[in-house]
Amino acid sequence: MATMNSNPAKTERQISLPFSQAFKIALRNITIRLGRAMITGAGTMLGIAFLMSVFTSAAIQQAKGIEIQVEQQQKNTWLVVMSLMVSVVGITNAMLMSVTERYKEIGTIKCLGALDNFIIKLFLIESALLGFFGSLIGSVLGMGFMLLTGVGVLGTINWPGLLLQMLMCIAIGTTLSVVAAIPPAMQAAKMQPADAMRTEI
């Protein structure tokens, strides 16, 4: 039994997927299937747009000096949570379809020596990217449309607070997107290399 402490030997014993490489591959996967990616991202975008519009509306009402009723707040919270859940389900569905379509690719990558967690990493990074850009666009759109109703009070809106909420929205959107991708990613990771040999689904 040999002890392997020297660096060249250490290289011989590892399998790794550096984050930069995984990032590159995930980005490629998105850009090559841009249409599908946009639909998946649209789910996040709409949910986050709604969330941001609720925040913006609250900020405008504050600027106008209108008191927000507790009931109204509760109703808003309920609506937002529901809409975000719908987004998450949509993302999970879209990614599951993507995994099923790419069974051969996944099997092949495993034949090349990929570990299960490489596959998970690739899908989660892909979903995080979609979530991030979807949330970014969504929060800008949500804020923009809602601001149209508060044109008169643009000067007195609490901008720092609003922008902080926008960052929160982007963070929420990205996180939800990653969470939504976990079931499909786990399914992909379980695929067997021998699946790459099969010629039918």
């Binding site: 039994m1 392997m4 984050f19 020596g113 290399p193 790459a196």
Partner: protein, 286 residues
């Protein structure tokens, strides 16, 4: 600089790295192949794959399917061996077994003197990355990557740095003859070119074994012949063991040994020179 995703291989595989090395195909005893490999004597050569009493049973919906019913075979280092068998004979199952893609229900499979049933997921992945190269009937290239990137992907998993990847990738592309198409995506390449990329990819980490599942299945006669000649040349020059599952007579023609499998058992194994193969041609064929 090691990324924090690297993990150490167990001692089982560690011993292999010392003794087997990455140039597995160039081990001692690689034969000086004759022009058609017919006169090569494999006796006394080490086996790269040993299959002992392997059975594989699937339980599907209450019934047992006995895909393999006790198979014994030794595959020698540097050999070019073809496995033939009708559909349902267990050919694919045996093929998956010797390629480390499946574990036997009973019996043992030794790849490079390592019992694959003892390997955990990480060690199996390591073996697939470093010891075995796979070639598929439908090429199975990653569509979003260029030819060069497809070839260097196994090197990324093996932790090689970028310079090494580019240098080796270029060399491999020249060896298989698609250097001029290195930045094309698979959709921009013909079937034959894609298969060449796949062969280069299979060789990326200098494996001991190349496992080829019907490599000429989707190719026309002429392109198929080019691929067969390429594989034979690689077998001769680098001594890499080639195991194929095939129906193609032209592939059998260049094999050193042919294995027939039927109904879960090996029906017979013959050296190429003991088998009469007549290749046909069609009038007007290029």
């Amino acid at each position: 600089m090691a990324s924090d995703q690297t993990e150490a291989v167990g001692d089982v595989m560690g011993a292999q790295v010392i003794t087997g090395g990455n140039g597995g195909g160039n081990g001692a005893g690689a034969p000086e192949a004759a022009s058609n490999g017919v006169e090569t004597d494999y006796s006394g050569q080490e086996s790269v794959v040993r299959v002992r009493g392997v059975t594989r049973t699937y339980d599907i919906g209450g019934t047992s399917v006995h895909a393999l019913r006790g198979v014994d075979i030794d595959i020698k280092r540097g050999e070019y061996i073809s496995i033939m068998g009708p559909s349902g004979s267990g050919k694919s199952t045996l093929f998956n077994m010797v390629g480390g893609l499946d574990k036997p229900t009973d019996g043992t499979v030794f790849i490079d003197e390592v019992d694959i049933a003892q390997l955990d997921a990480f060690e199996l992945a390591w073996m697939r990355c470093r010891k075995i190269g796979y070639i598929f009937q439908s090429y199975n290239l990653i569509p979003v990557m260029t030819a060069l990137e497809n070839i260097t992907l196994p090197m990324i998993f093996a932790g090689r740095d970028l310079d090494y990847q580019m240098e080796k990738g270029r060399k491999l592309m020249e060896a298989v003859g698609i250097a001029h198409r290195m930045h094309n995506k698979p959709s921009q390449l013909s079937g034959g070119q894609q298969q060449r990329v796949a062969i280069a990819r299979a060789l990326a980490n200098d494996p001991a074994i190349i496992l080829a599942d019907e490599p000429t299945g989707n190719l026309d006669q002429k392109t198929g012949m080019e691929i067969i000649e390429l594989l034979k040349r690689l077998n001769r020059e680098s001594g890499v063991t080639i195991i194929t599952a095939t129906h193609d007579d032209k592939m059998l023609d260049v094999s050193d040994r042919i294995v027939w499998i039927s109904d879960g058992k090996i029906a017979r194994i013959k050296n190429r020179n003991e088998v009469d193969i007549t290749l046909g041609t069609v009038e007007g064929e290029v």
